[in-house]
C-alpha cells in the first residue's frame, strides 16, 4: 500500500483544504477497489506491478488534483492577456527609456570611458530590475482585479443584431486599448498611494549611481485630488469597458472627470513645486553629502522650472481640449434631444 498512500498524500498536497480529506478518502476507497479487482483478475504479475500500472494510468498527482478543481484557475484570462502584455511592454519600454536617459546623461556630464559607462549601466540595471518586478506585480494585481470584476456574462444572453456597432463608430471602445488604460490607471493609483518613492529618476553623480525619489512633501497636499481624479477615471472607464462603447452620459461624465484633471493641473501649476528631492534621504541611502547637495540644487535650478513650464503648457492644452470637447458634447446632446 506504500505507493498508494504516497500517491494519495501527494494528490492532497495540490487540493484546497476544504475538499482535501474527502477527495483523499474517496480516492483511497476507489483505488483499493480497483487494486483488488486487478489482483483478483490477475491482470498484472504481482501487487507492486499492479499498483504501478494503476497509478501510472491515473496520471501525475498534480494533474489528477487539478481535474478536481473548478474552472477557471487563472489570474489573467485569454480575454485580458493581450492587454496585459501591451501594458507590460509600455511600462518596460518607459522604464528602459529612463535607464537609457540615465546612461546618456552620465555620458554627457562625465565624458567617461566606455568601461565606466558600462559600469554605470550595470549599476542602473539593478534598479531597473527591482522597479520592473514591482511594476509586474502591480500590473498582474490590477489585471487580476479587472478579470474578476468583468467576468463575461452568460454567452447565451439575448442580443439584438441591430445593436451591432457601425464599422466607423467613433464611440466604440477597443477592448485591448481600454484594458491597457484601466491597468495604467490602476497602476498609477497603486504607485501614488503605496510606492510614491518609486516616482523618481536614475541618477549618476561621479562614481555613484542609483534611483532617487523626486517628489517632495508638497505632493501630499494634492494626493486626495489625484486619487479622486484617478479613481473616477478608473470607475468610468470600467463602466465604458463593460458597455463596450461610449454613450452620451459616459461622455459627459468623462468631461466632468477631465475638469477635475484640469483643476488638479491648475493646483500643481500654481502651488509649491512637487518636485523636491530630499538630500537627507540621499545621504541616508549612501550618497555623499556633496553628491546629494549637487543633485538637489541641479533639480531646483533646472528641473523645477521645466516642470512648471510643462505644467503650464499642459494646463493650456487641457483647457483648449476641454473647450473643444464641451462644444462637441453640447452639439451631440442637442442633436439627440431634437
Amino acid at each position: 500500500m506504500d505507493l498508494i498512500d504516497r500517491y494519495i498524500e501527494e494528490v492532497g498536497r495540490f487540493l484546497p483544504r476544504k475538499i482535501r480529506s474527502d477527495v483523499q478518502r474517496e480516492l483511497r476507497s476507489t483505488l483499493e477497489d480497483s487494486l483488488e479487482s486487478r489482483l483478483a483478475n490477475g491482470r498484472d504479475d504481482d501487487a507492486e506491478t499492479t499498483q504501478l500500472a494503476l497509478l501510472t494510468e491515473l496520471g501525475h498527482p498534480e494533474e489528477l488534483a487539478a481535474s478536481y478543481l473548478p474552472e477557471p484557475r487563472y489570474l489573467i484570462g485569454p480575454r485580458l492577456y493581450p492587454g496585459f502584455q501591451l501594458t507590460m511592454r509600455i511600462c518596460l519600454f518607459a522604464l528602459a527609456v529612463l535607464l537609457l536617459l540615465g546612461v546618456v546623461a552620465t555620458a554627457v556630464e562625465e565624458g567617461g570611458s566606455h568601461l565606466s559607462l558600462l559600469a554605470v549601466a550595470v549599476g542602473l540595471f539593478d534598479d531597473y530590475l527591482a522597479t520592473a518586478l514591482t511594476i509586474l506585480g502591480i500590473v498582474v494585481f490590477v489585471f487580476a482585479v479587472i478579470e474578476r470584476l468583468s467576468r463575461p456574462s452568460d454567452s447565451t444572453r439575448e442580443w439584438d443584431p441591430r445593436s451591432l456597432p457601425e464599422i466607423d463608430d467613433p464611440d466604440r471602445v477597443g477592448r485591448i486599448g481600454q484594458g491597457v488604460k484601466l491597468a495604467l490607471l490602476g497602476l498609477a493609483l497603486v504607485v501614488v498611494n503605496f510606492f510614491p518613492d518609486r516616482i523618481g529618476s536614475f541618477v549618476t553623480i561621479g562614481e555613484q549611481s542609483g534611483w532617487v525619489p523626486l517628489l517632495g512633501p508638497a505632493f501630499n497636499q494634492h494626493l486626495w485630488l489625484l486619487n479622486l481624479a484617478l479613481g473616477l477615471d478608473l470607475l468610468l472607464n470600467l463602466v465604458v469597458w463593460r458597455q463596450g462603447r461610449w454613450q452620451l452620459m459616459t461622455r459627459w461624465l468623462d468631461f466632468a472627470t477631465t475638469l477635475i484633471w484640469v483643476f488638479f493641473l491648475f493646483r500643481l501649476a500654481t502651488g509649491p513645486s512637487i518636485v523636491e528631492p530630499d538630500a537627507e534621504w540621499m545621504i541616508a541611502h549612501g550618497w555623499s553629502s556633496e553628491a546629494a547637495a549637487s543633485y538637489v540644487s541641479l533639480i531646483e535650478d533646472a528641473l523645477s522650472d521645466l516642470v512648471e513650464i510643462g505644467l503650464g503648457l499642459g494646463l493650456i492644452a487641457a483647457l483648449v481640449g476641454t473647450t473643444i470637447l464641451v462644444f462637441r458634447l453640447v452639439k451631440k446632446t442637442l442633436r439627440q434631444m431634437l
Binding site: S34, L54, L64
Partner: protein, 113 residues
C-alpha cells in the same frame, strides 16, 4: 484536461467522447453506484472511461447539481455513492433527445463505411 497528443484526429475523438461520457454517467447513475462500480458497469457496456477522468468528473457533476452523493460506511470499505439528481434527470432527458436526433441526422450525413 488538455489532451497531450498532437494528432488532431485523436484530439477530436477525445472531445467527442468527453460530452458523451457525461450522458452515459447520468443514464447509469439513475441507479445509485459508487465510482469503481460505475466504471466497471460502463466498461461492461463497452465504454472505457479512465479512472483519472471519471472520479473528478463525478465530483464536478455533483458540484453542478446534476448528481447527489452520500458516504456509506457500514460493513466493509467506506464508499461514496452517487445518483442522478432531479436536475440531472432533466439534463439527461434533454441530452438524450439531442443525442437521438443527432444520431439520426449524422446517419444521413456520414459516408457509409
Amino acid at each position: 484536461m488538455t489532451p497531450k497528443t498532437k494528432d488532431p484526429a485523436e484530439n477530436l475523438t477525445l472531445e467527442l467522447r468527453r460530452g458523451l461520457i457525461v450522458l452515459a454517467i447520468l443514464a447509469r447513475l439513475e441507479e445509485e453506484r459508487y465510482g469503481y462500480a460505475l466504471r466497471e458497469e460502463l466498461l461492461g457496456q463497452g465504454l472505457e472511461v479512465p479512472e483519472g477522468t471519471l472520479y473528478p468528473l463525478l465530483r464536478r457533476l455533483e458540484s453542478q447539481g446534476l448528481l447527489e452523493s452520500r458516504w456509506q460506511t457500514g460493513e466493509g470499505r467506506p464508499r461514496r455513492y452517487y445518483r442522478t439528481s432531479p436536475r440531472g434527470r432533466e439534463a439527461l432527458e434533454a441530452m438524450s433527445r439531442e443525442w437521438r436526433s443527432l444520431v439520426e441526422v449524422l446517419e444521413r450525413l456520414l459516408p457509409e463505411s
